[in-house]
Amino acid sequence: MAVPTEPRLSHTAAMILQAIHAGQVYGFSVMEVTGLPSGTVYPAMRRMERDGLIASRWEQPSIAEAELRPPRKYYRLTRTGKTTLDAAQKRYPLLARMIVSAETEGA
C-alpha cells in the first residue's frame, strides 16, 4: 500500500511559507519579515508556486491606480501549502513563534 508523503521543506522555504501564511503576501514584505535576500525569496516563491504550495494573483489595476502606484502581485497559501506548512511547523517548532500570523496573534 502506498503511503502518501508530504513534501519536506528546508527551513528557509518553511520561513517563507510561514511569512505568507502570516499575511506577508508580497515578495518584498516576505523579505523584510524573514530577513532573507531577494535572490533567495523570489526563486523560492516561484518554486513553491510551481509545486502548488502557494498561488499568485495580480491585484486589480483600479486599486493600484487609486493609490498612484504600480499593481502588485500577491501570493496566498493553497490547501496543499497549508498542509505542508503544518508539517513544517511540527518539524520546526519555533517557526510559528518567529513569524506570528494574524490568526495566531488574535488567538
Binding site: G27, S38, G39, Y42, P43, P70, P71, R72
Partner: protein, 524 residues
C-alpha cells in the same frame, strides 16, 4: 569635511532589472519585469527617494535588484515544458559520448563553412578557381604591397610595357574600376562600379569574350554595326537591370556615356581579381590612350617563365627604369598565390600553434597499463581514431572561422585582415588542440565516455607515503582514472585502472537508474 556617497537613481535600478529580464524566458519576461518593477517601487518607498529619484540606502536597494538575476535564472532553468526539454537535451549533449562530441564538431565545421559561403567577401576563398590560372599569371602592383584594393599602376606604364617589355610578358591587360552609370535601351539605369579595361582582359583569364555577331537586318539588335566598345556584365547586373534577358548579347547600352554592345555575362562569383566591378567596358588601345597617362589602374600579366629565372611561385619583383632615369619597383604577385593566401596563413599559424602547444598543456595522454583483460585491438584503435577525428575537425573549424572573421565579418582593410586571420587562427588552433588533448585525457579508453564523479582522494601530508589526487570514474564501469595532485617520480602522470567484469553488475544497476531518471525528466 564630510563625504557623501553618490546614490544611484531609480533609472539605474531599472536598468539592472531590465538586464536581468533578458535572462528570463521570453514568454514570462513581461510579467516577471512588471512584478519586479512594482516591488522596486515599494522598496523605493520603504527607503525614501531623494532628489532626482535617488534612493536612500542605495546599497540595500542595489542588493535587492541584484536578486533579480538568480530569480530570472531560476525561471530560465525551470520555465515551460518545452524549455525544460531543451535543457534536458543540452544536458544529454553534455553527457559526453564520443559520437555526440564528433557530431557537434562536424556541425561546427559545417556551420562555419556555411557562414563563409553566405558572406560575399569570403565565398571566393571556398570556391574552386573559376578560371584557369597558373603561376605565370600575375597582377602587378607598384611598390610591393602584396594585396591592395587600390589601383597603383599608371596607364602610361602599362602602355610602355606593352611596346617595350614584350620579352617579359606574353600578355598584358589593364583595367581601371570607377563608379559609373549604365543606361539600358528601355531607359532603366543604375549607378555601379564599372571597370574600363583593355579588350584582352578576359583572354588572359582564358575566358574569351566573343566578338559581337552581325545580326540580320530585321533584328532590332542590328541597328548598331558590330565592333566598337563591348561591355561584359556580372550576373547580378544582367539579372537586376536587364531582367535576365536571354537575348542580351548584342544589345546596346550606354555605359558611362559611351555606347557599348553587351558581349557577355560572367558566371556567378567569377571575378576574383583586385578591385570591385559589376561591368567591364572593353576598349581597344586607341580608346584607352585617350585617358590621362597618369590615371591609375590594375595590370594583369602573363609572364614568360624564362624571363623570370626563379619561376614565380608566390611573388617576385620587377624593377623598371623610367625615362627620367629613376627606377621603380613593382611586385608581380601570382593569382594562384593570392587565392591560396588564407590557407598559407592558416598553415603558418598551425605550425606556430604546434610549437606553442607543449608550453600550454601536457602532450602525454597518461598511462594505460595492460590489465588482466587486455583490450581488443579495435577498441584501442578507436581511441586514437577519435582523437584524430577531433583534431581533424578542429582544424577546419578554426580555418573557416578565422577566414569568416578576418575577411567577412570584420572586413578589416589590408593588412589588418591578414594579422586578424593569423592571430585568430593561431589562438584557435592552440586552444582547440589543447581542448582536444584535455578532453581525450578525461575519457574512458574503452567506451570513450567522459569520466564523471570526480573525488578527492588522500591528503597532501601523505604525499610521500601514498598518492593523493583526484579520482574519476567511468559511468559504464570500465575503470577509474587517478590524477596525481603532485607528480612524483613514481606517479608522474594520470593513470588508468581497469575494473574487471565483476564490477559490471553494480554499474548496470546505476545505468538503469540513470535511464529511469532521464525518462522521468523527459516526461516532466
Amino acid at each position: 569635511m564630510t563625504h557623501r556617497a553618490r546614490v544611484p537613481s531609480f533609472s539605474f535600478y531599472l536598468l539592472l532589472l531590465r538586464l536581468a529580464a533578458w535572462l528570463a524566458p521570453g514568454e514570462a519576461r513581461a510579467e516577471w519585469l512588471a512584478e519586479w518593477k512594482a516591488e522596486l517601487w515599494h522598496v523605493g518607498r520603504s527607503h525614501g527617494t531623494g532628489m532626482a529619484g535617488a534612493f536612500r540606502g542605495g546599497r540595500r536597494v542595489t542588493a535587492f535588484c541584484l536578486g533579480a538575476f538568480p530569480d530570472a535564472l531560476w525561471l530560465r532553468r525551470n520555465g515551460s515544458g518545452r524549455r525544460r526539454m531543451a535543457a534536458w537535451g543540452l544536458d544529454r549533449m553534455r553527457s559526453g559520448s564520443a559520437r555526440r562530441c564528433g557530431a557537434l564538431l562536424a556541425l561546427g565545421a559545417a556551420a562555419s563553412l556555411l557562414l563563409g559561403f553566405r558572406l560575399p567577401a569570403t565565398r571566393r576563398f571556398f570556391l574552386p578557381e573559376p578560371y584557369q590560372t597558373d603561376s605565370l599569371l600575375v597582377t602587378i602592383q607598384r611598390g610591393g604591397s602584396e594585396e591592395t584594393p587600390r589601383p597603383t599602376v599608371r596607364l602610361g606604364d602599362y602602355l610602355s610595357w606593352r611596346t617595350d617589355a614584350g620579352r617579359l610578358f606574353t600578355g598584358l591587360a589593364f583595367y581601371q574600376p570607377a563608379m559609373g552609370r549604365i543606361r539600358t535601351a528601355t531607359g532603366r539605369s543604375a549607378s555601379l562600379p564599372i571597370a574600363r579595361a583593355s579588350g584582352n582582359l578576359f583572354d588572359l583569364l582564358h575566358h574569351p569574350v566573343p566578338a559581337i555577331p552581325a545580326y540580320p537586318a530585321d533584328d532590332h539588335r542590328a541597328s548598331d554595326p558590330p565592333g566598337g566598345a563591348r561591355v561584359v556584365l556580372s550576373r547580378k547586373v544582367w539579372r537586376d537591370l536587364f531582367d535576365g534577358d536571354p537575348g542580351i548579347i548584342g544589345r546596346v547600352a550606354d555605359v558611362s556615356g559611351e555606347r557599348a554592345r553587351v558581349a557577355g555575362v560572367l558566371p556567378e562569383d567569377f571575378w576574383r581579381l583586385p578591385g570591385q566591378a559589376d561591368a567591364w567596358l572593353l576598349e581597344d588601345s586607341r580608346t584607352l590612350r585617350q585617358l590621362p597617362d597618369d590615371s591609375p589602374g590594375f595590370v594583369l600579366a602573363r609572364v614568360r617563365g624564362e624571363s623570370f629565372p626563379s619561376a614565380i611561385d608566390g611573388w617576385t619583383y620587377m624593377t623598371v627604369s623610367q625615362r627620367s632615369g629613376e627606377t621603380e619597383r613593382f611586385a608581380c604577385i601570382s593569382i594562384s598565390q593570392q587565392a591560396r593566401q588564407p590557407l598559407s596563413l592558416a598553415l603558418f599559424a598551425l605550425f606556430l600553434a604546434g610549437l606553442a602547444l607543449p608550453a600550454t598543456t601536457a602532450l602525454a595522454l597518461g598511462e594505460y597499463p595492460v590489465g588482466r583483460y587486455p583490450l581488443a585491438r579495435a577498441v584501442r584503435a578507436r581511441r586514437w581514431i577519435f582523437l584524430a577525428v577531433k583534431l581533424g575537425l578542429v582544424a577546419p573549424i578554426v580555418f573557416f572561422t578565422s577566414v569568416d572573421l578576418a575577411y567577412g565579418l570584420c572586413q578589416a582593410p589590408w593588412p589588418v585582415s591578414i594579422y586578424l586571420q593569423l592571430a585568430s587562427s593561431f589562438l584557435g588552433f592552440l586552444f582547440g588542440f589543447r581542448w582536444a588533448l584535455r578532453d581525450q585525457r578525461r575519457r574512458c579508453p574503452v567506451c570513450l565516455q567522459l569520466l564523471t564523479n570526480p573525488a578527492q582522494v588522500g591528503q597532501d601530508s601523505r604525499n610521500f607515503l601514498a598518492w593523493h589526487g583526484a579520482e574519476l570514474i567511468c559511468a559504464g564501469g570500465h575503470g577509474l582514472l587517478h590524477i596525481p595532485e603532485m607528480p612524483t617520480s613514481w606517479f608522474s602522470t594520470q593513470r588508468w585502472l581497469y575494473l574487471d567484469p565483476s564490477w559490471r553488475g553494480l554499474f548496470d544497476e546505476r545505468r538503469a537508474g540513470l535511464a529511469k531518471n532521464g525518462a522521468a525528466r523527459a516526461g516532466c
